[in-house]
């Protein structure tokens, strides 16, 4: 069997990679995708603990995280579309003024 801490180390690595991607990419859609990567890393940790503690609560929380991620992606992408329409650019460094 695979020990639990292997899954947790993988989850930590994925989370760290998500943070690095969030900080170093300039395209706002890629930044959003790195947020999804971080959420997935957290999901992996949830399921690993659910298996270790032999309870299904972790998997229920994974379902909730997926639902919240879906809602957040929908609204976030709507905001991205509005920004892209107004500034004609998807570069976050261009969105640095409070007024257009």
């Amino acid at each position: 069997m695979v020990p639990t801490h292997y899954y947790l180390i993988l989850s930590a690595i994925l989370f760290g990679l998500g943070v690095v991607a969030f900080m170093f990419r300039r395209n706002i859609i890629t930044i959003f995708m790195s947020i999804e990567l971080m959420l997935n890393a957290v999901n992996l940790a949830f399921v690993a603990f659910s298996r270790a503690l032999n309870k299904l609560d972790g998997q229920v929380f994974v379902l909730f995280v997926i639902v919240v991620a879906a809602a957040e992606a929908a609204v976030g992408l709507g905001i991205i579309i509005v920004i892209a329409r107004n500034r004609q650019s998807l570069n976050v460094e261009r969105v640095d003024l409070l007024k257009l």
């Binding site: 069997m1 695979v2 020990p3 639990t4 801490h5 292997y6 899954y7 947790l8 180390i9 993988l10 989850s11 930590a12 690595i13 994925l14 989370f15 760290g16 990679l17 943070v19 690095v20 991607a21 170093f24 990419r25 300039r26 395209n27 859609i29 995708m33 790195s34 990567l37 997935n40 999901n43 992996l44 399921v47 690993a48 659910s50 298996r51 270790a52 032999n54 299904l56 609560d57 998997q59 229920v60 994974v62 379902l63 909730f64 997926i66 639902v67 991620a69 879906a70 809602a71 992606a73 929908a74 609204v75 709507g78 905001i79 991205i80 579309i81 892209a84 998807l90 570069n91 460094e93």
Partner: protein
């Protein structure tokens, strides 16, 4: 070196390579494809852990709906290759090692705790979906109904945001 361990390492390698590819690709659509690979590999890991329903939901919802939304937006906004801007290189030189250090600290903290969390004996997975449904609709029914409100708010928000201004 038994079969589950080999499968774990293959899937974990797919996850990590997909995440690194997400960081390094220049075009957002390639980043999106890498993220889809990460999600499918994660679904494989959930299957390896015995969480079948969660694996299926991950592919259907995350891989088949959320990422399709991302791909649509990339196509509609005609997102191109990222341009290079002249911001400080120092941030790059200092930041990447710090990011790696963050990952290292997290991973080391986790690895040091390996005695505390052991794999429990084989769970009674006769009908895990049924048990999951029981849990979801009995103990967690209140958050479940709240998520339906959340989705409704998200739908309304997305519709309002994506409308064209009638100026």
């Amino acid at each position: 070196m038994n079969a589950p361990l080999i499968i774990f390492f293959v899937l974990a390698a797919m996850c990590v390579l997909g995440a690194i590819s997400l960081i390094l690709q220049r075009h957002p659509i390639h980043s999106a494809l890498s993220l889809i690979v990460v999600m499918v590999a994660l679904a494989g890991l959930y299957l390896l852990m015995g969480a079948e329903f969660v694996a299926a939901v991950q592919i259907i919802v995350y891989g088949g709906a959320i990422m399709v939304l991302f791909v649509f937006v990339i196509m509609l906004l005609n997102a191109g290759v990222e341009e290079r801007t002249n911001l400080s290189k120092l941030a790059g030189f200092a930041g990447i090692p710090l990011g790696v250090a963050l990952m290292g600290f997290l991973a080391a903290a986790v690895a040091r705790s390996q005695d505390m969390v052991q794999v429990a004996t084989q769970t009674g997975t006769a009908a895990p979906t049924k048990a999951l449904a029981n849990l979801l609709f009995q103990d967690f029914v209140y958050p479940f109904e709240l998520t339906s409100f959340l989705i409704l708010i998200a739908i309304l928000g997305a519709i309002v945001l994506a409308q064209r201004e009638n100026a």
